[in-house]
Point group: C2
């Protein structure tokens, strides 16, 4: 695996330009010529204009789509914060490769290429066929007692995502989604949310995969202790420092993927709580990536709404989901693709001979 050092991340960030406002404006004007009342496609018009601003070219159709699922384990699981045992990360990776998980079904149905990336699963997966092998270490350390990662590990895991983003661009995808699998990673996402937004552990901690109220109270206390240990009362830690202390290997990789996607002018659909935490860290590293983000859905995790508000992103879908794996992001893809096709394929008032509004 290629690793990437800190100067390289700096270089990457320097290369990012925001989506083109001139193209967004041009797209808005075109949308107003199409045979529909002005603005009547609502959010779809915003999405079409955003995609035009990002791509700055004619769209190739069908839109080429991919979802990347980053998997890793978390040292915090020894504290009993999840309803599921740690080995489920490994088992679900095998389920992805066997095409049996929710993300497989959705990717298949919506014609989305699915790639699963091992950034840090605590199991020997070196002979698992079809898996992208980029293990940095077998799970993070227990952030209740020490930093989850070393600086070097943060860089390596981020570089994994950068490489994947480069590969996605080279493969010609126009729309990429990120998702994750990692037992314990809502605990990490909650700690990141506290560090980034200043929210309390109580507000930022949810029920994850579905823990009972007693376990939820315990998990909240763990998040509180983790945040107090690493950040004290002082806000303003750098995104790389937040990743080192309370991040996850898959979260660092997703942050790197967001940076690379933005550099390559790829629209990136963010899934739920954990991938949005990664996107928020990427935005903290370089605010110019913001315009490349599409929030696929609003998950049931309370911390997700805190992050969406922090990022000022309105989700495409709100379906009371809390599964991860990129499922909410892939479900939003047919909506985003619809926006693109409406933009490129609808008749205009003049071409169709339809009378315009009198006002």
């Amino acid at each position: 695996m290629t690793t990437m050092d800190a100067p390289a991340i700096e270089y990457l960030i320097r290369d990012i330009v925001p989506p083109s406002e001139a193209w967004r404006q041009k797209a808005r004007l075109h949308l107003d010529t199409l045979t529909k009342p002005i603005g009547s496609l609502g959010r779809l018009e915003d999405l079409a204009a955003q995609m035009a601003a990002i791509r700055q070219e004619k769209f190739a159709e069908p839109v080429s789509k991919a979802v990347y699922v980053f998997a890793a384990d978390h040292g915090i699981t020894v504290e009993g914060v999840s309803a599921y045992p740690r080995e489920v990360t490994h088992q679900m990776v095998l389920n992805f490769l066997a095409e049996g998980a929710a993300i497989n079904v959705l990717a298949r149905l919506h014609n989305v290429a699915l790639r699963v990336v091992d950034v840090g699963v605590d199991a020997d997966l070196h002979d698992a066929p079809g898996l992208l092998h980029h293990k940095v270490r077998v799970g993070t350390r227990n952030m209740l007692h020490e930093a989850a990662m070393s600086e070097e590990e943060v860089r390596e895991a981020t570089a994994v995502g950068v490489k994947i983003g480069d590969d996605a661009a080279a493969a010609g995808y126009a729309l990429v989604a990120i998702g994750e699998m990692g037992i314990g990673n809502t605990t990490a996402a909650s700690a990141i949310t506290c560090a980034l937004t200043g929210a309390s552990a109580t507000l930022a901690t949810g029920s994850g995969t579905g823990i009972q109220p007693g376990v939820h109270a315990h998990k909240t206390r763990i998040v509180e202790a983790v945040v107090a240990r690493h950040f004290g009362s002082a806000a303003g830690s750098s995104p790389l420092e937040i990743l080192r202390c309370v991040g996850g290997l898959e979260i660092a990789a997703m942050a790197g993927m967001v940076l690379a996607a933005a550099r390559h002018r790829l629209a990136i659909i963010v899934d739920g709580f954990i991938s949005t935490a990664a996107a928020a860290l990427a935005v903290a590293m370089e605010p110019k990536v913001h315009g490349y983000l599409i929030a696929g859905h609003r998950s049931e995790e309370p911390g997700h709404t805190l992050l969406l508000n922090h990022l000022k992103l309105a989700p495409v879908l709100t379906l009371a989901m809390r599964l991860g794996e990129g499922t909410g992001a892939v479900l939003a893809m047919p909506i985003v693709e619809s926006a693109i096709c409406l933009y490129t394929q609808m008749a205009t008032f003049s071409s169709a001979g339809v009378s315009e509004a009198s006002q």
Copy 2:
């Protein structure tokens, strides 16, 4: 065209049974064996269980889908309630047939068969190829001064929808959507909303295709006068009477289609304000149809939310749309289809060898 008399409508309604609660329960149990935290697919699990309750059989895949767009004109347009001239109904029907409208793009992208039905367009369309010809009359009468239809016309227009629903079932579609085109029809839908829910014209009247504030105030006064003329202060008019006084030919047809779909155990995805008004009338005729309805989206029209609340339906999408044509319903189809495929295709905990939750 076959017409249908009142006893036949009575017969049709007698034939409707609600979706199977036993199948819904069975589906819930199956969903809980799939490799995901219990309940984590949120609304998709509700939709899968509803579809199982409706179909009561193994699903054939790919799910066979169709959208029916009912077009008709409205006598009320002479009162200046719309931003667009009346001939746009006719022009947009030609745009549908030429594949240039928003609904064409969405139906094509999502593999949904599209049928356009002339129930009452004020234009000679008899040689328009591909159109389903069921014109009852060239638009309704001006409901500000007289009933929009005769009793006989209501029956005929409803029978058009019943026939279309019968044909959809015979064609083997598992999922059908309804939409409409008719300049002036948000005014009719507002009057229906007032009659059905008791809401004031102020609450039930929106901006339709995008009228200016002054026209909106005028439209609101027209709705108020129409409701006062036909229903006075007395609530409790029958749905057929509401249709006769303030309905539309396309609205009557959509109500008939909902009844027929329920009789054939077809799930029916309702679009926006006007088609939901039709569905609400069908529910008023026979409450057992309720379980067959899926609200595709929540439109920007304020009256639509009144009707969704009245029907206790939670929309699948909320995308600030207000176009009609069935666009919101067809956009919801990939979500509903996703729910079905997750239900039928996901691995179980035991088949995939994944550990279950500890609680």
